[in-house]
């Protein structure tokens, strides 16, 4: 990963943000992302993102949980150590439903959260470049990735016109690295740029 140049437009109202996104996209600029303090409905569609398939993953994890419970319990109670409980059948499916259900939920929840953290690259000690400290407070922050052809001054004026309350240029790494939020140093920075 190398550093890139971004022109960052900050908006303070989602009702200004939506038309601005439309204008920026029509003009052919590449929006890196929009950082918002809360989930804004319809923003993913406005940015042309596809639906997430996280829930499909959750379903698959759930099914795995059900199968794990059923196969383990049935093997244990019918073949590995069959217990005679009042002469009742060894394969006692109704009595296993609670545990099958619990494991379905457990596998699904744990799997989904881990997948979510992996996809969003979230973990303790992970550090990212945040384009604006108020993106988690009250600003909607839209960094636009610059190419060699981008006229940075034009783009800044364009964003101002579209209603941005604050526009600036930042050179930043857009991935993540291991670091502390109270220190500015970026380990491996030089190595990454050299590569």
């Amino acid at each position: 990963m190398a550093k890139k140049t971004f022109v960052v437009g900050c908006f303070d109202d989602e009702e200004v943000l939506f038309p601005a996104i439309k204008k920026v996209r029509t003009a052919g600029y590449k929006i890196q992302d929009v950082y918002t303090p809360f989930p804004v409905h319809g923003l993913d569609h406005a940015l042309g993102m596809r639906e997430t398939s996280l829930h499909t993953a959750g379903f698959i994890y759930g099914i795995t949980g059900t199968t794990t419970a059923l196969s383990c319990i049935s093997w244990i109670l019918t073949s590995d150590w069959p217990l005679n409980i009042g002469g009742k059948p060894h394969f006692a499916l109704p009595a296993w439903i609670p545990i099958m259900f619990e494991l379905t939920v457990l596998f699904s929840a744990v799997g989904m959260v881990l997948t979510f953290c992996y996809l969003c690259q979230l973990a303790p000690f992970v550090k990212k470049h945040h384009f604006h400290a108020r993106a988690t407070d009250d600003l909607f922050v839209m960094p636009i990735e610059c190419t060699s052809k981008t006229n940075i001054d034009d783009l800044q004026a364009f964003l101002k016109n579209a209603g941005a309350v604050e526009v600036n240029v930042q050179v930043a790494e857009d991935g993540w690295w291991l670091g502390r939020y109270d220190k500015d140093e970026m380990p491996f920075e030089n190595k990454i740029v050299a590569a």
């Binding site: 993913d44 639906e51 457990l106 690259q121 108020r134 939020y181």
Partner: protein, 489 residues
């Protein structure tokens, strides 16, 4: 560009003319300020109780559970009473965050974070009781099915006690994940405002590098929705399974099919009461009356009167069945051991009736539902009543078994049984005080999400839309209507 619109008839969920920044300020302020004297006093009392509890448990491990007054017929006593009581309290958080999310109840946003935290701490307390009740607690891992050198000898998957192990541990894990994944964006808010280095570092670690990216929010929404969908049957299953501990036995008073719904309703009842007790204090101490409004308190009181009445119907059904079944053991348990005020434990049954069934009926009156003092008082009464309920179920069914020669002993707890119970209060409140000091007690991002629909000042601005004919509105559903703002300019 769309504007969400909510009817003027609905009360605002956020009072005052707040901006997004005001919301951040209001909720983060207690975290950034020095804790008050009151906080320290409360915290030290909680820690003192916790220490007493730890000492009681130390004695429990050293001398064995013989230091409790459990006897020949009463093998469960205070210990399992407290277990069921705490698990029940631990139901409100997930109910508020999951079931009310699926039902699209906007008012959940004001109380869900604290209720979820309360759930987690209550389940932690509940878990202590069966674990230390094992006596030889260093063998506690025997409840997990794992290949071992004793055969391998497996746990009994057909036993409700084992279902409990799975249900409670799953419930704890899922509640924790649900709570923490919801906290990530709010911890990032605290991180980005942090002034000191230590604070920046710690909240940086805790917020996992959350940035607020649109894609991340999209996944976060999907995650919350699916976790809510999973937690809804989960929360119902947990107390259902706890009730199976009783219902699958052949003890009179326990052997009944209405236990699962009756226990779940009771759990919601006591859980909401605990949320009321805590939120009334929190909103006062932290000055959050704009976010946890009288509307919120009233909504929770409605849940309390509903679930309290369901529990009441269950009690009456049990009494009826005790007579109608013409089973002499059932009849003896219900009509002598419980409903007869002059039987040895009759006081506990009538205490339960007074606290759980009769007194909550006061909430049929709107004035009472919106009275803070009455609400707080009732929330404590309800939790006392629900403790009595579990005590009644356990003790009155056990103290006179099938062998009259073992009837003589009147069960009352020793100081160490009480100490253990007080210790869990210490654990609960220590955790809750720390949570209230170091975490946002109200879900910041979720309040911002509903601010422009349900905030007082925004609702006033939308008043003119009341006059707009219905056809202008796009599609409607879920209590909100989406309308194109240009149509009215």
């Amino acid at each position: 560009m769309h504007l969400k619109y909510e009817s003027q008839l609905r009360e605002p969920l956020v009072y005052g003319s707040k901006t997004y920044h005001d919301v951040t300020e209001d909720i983060v302020r207690p975290i950034e300020a020095k804790p008050s004297k009151l906080w320290y006093i409360g915290f030290y009392i909680a820690v003192a109780l916790l220490i007493f509890g730890v000492y009681s448990i130390y004695r429990d491990v050293t001398y064995g559970i013989g230091q409790w007054n459990l006897n020949k017929t009463i093998g469960w006593g205070w210990d399992i009473t407290n277990f069921v009581w705490w698990v029940g309290i631990g139901h409100a958080g997930t109910l508020i965050s999951a079931i009310l999310l699926l039902f699209r109840q906007g008012w959940r946003t004001g109380v869900n974070r604290a209720a979820e935290a309360m759930t987690i701490f209550a389940v932690m307390c509940a878990g202590q009781f069966p674990i230390w009740h094992m006596g030889r607690v260093w063998m506690a891992f025997f409840v997990m099915p794992y290949p071992n050198t004793r055969g391998p000898l497996w746990v009994n998957f057909n036993s409700p006690l084992l279902w409990d192990v799975f249900a409670i541990s799953t419930y704890f894990t899922v509640s924790l994940l649900f709570w923490y994944s919801g906290l990530l964006p709010d911890l990032a808010t605290v991180r980005d405002r942090a002034k000191t280095k230590l604070r920046k570092h710690l909240y940086g670690v805790a917020s996992f590098g959350w940035s607020g990216s649109t894609k991340h929010w999209q996944r976060h929404e999907s995650l919350s929705l699916v976790l809510a969908g999973l937690s809804t049957p989960l929360v119902l299953s947990v107390h259902t399974i706890v009730s199976f501990d009783f219902a699958t036995s052949v003890i009179p008073g326990w052997h009944t099919t209405i236990f699962p719904p009756y226990f779940v309703a009771g759990a919601v009842f006591s859980g909401f009461a605990m949320v009321q007790s805590l939120m009334i204090i929190v909103r006062k101490v932290f000055g959050m009356e704009d976010y946890v409004t009288m509307g919120h308190i009233e909504a929770m009181n409605k849940v309390i009167v509903l679930t309290g009445s369901i529990v009441g119907v269950a009690y009456l059904t049990e009494l009826f069945m005790g007579w109608y079944s013409q089973n002499k053991y059932e009849g003896y348990t219900f009509w002598y051991s419980r409903a007869n005020l002059f039987s040895p434990y009759g006081w506990s049954y009538w205490g339960m009736m007074a606290c759980n069934v009769i007194s909550p009926q006061i909430f049929w009156f709107r004035k009472m539902r919106r009275n803070l003092f009455v609400t707080f008082f009732m929330s404590v009464i309800v939790n006392i009543g629900m403790w009595f309920e579990r005590f009644v179920i356990i003790v009155t069914s056990l103290y006179r078994d099938y062998l009259p020669s073992s009837w003589a002993v009147y069960y009352s707890p020793t100081i160490w049984e009480i100490g253990f119970y007080l210790g869990t209060f210490g654990l609960f409140f220590t955790c809750f005080f720390l949570f209230a000091k170091y975490f946002p007690v109200i879900a910041i991002a979720e309040i911002k999400y509903v601010l422009k629909t349900t905030g007082e000042s925004y609702k006033e601005k939308m008043g003119h839309l009341e006059q707009v004919p219905a056809e202008v509105f796009g599609h409607s559903g879920h209590g909100h209507t989406t309308v194109d703002n240009h149509a009215h300019n």
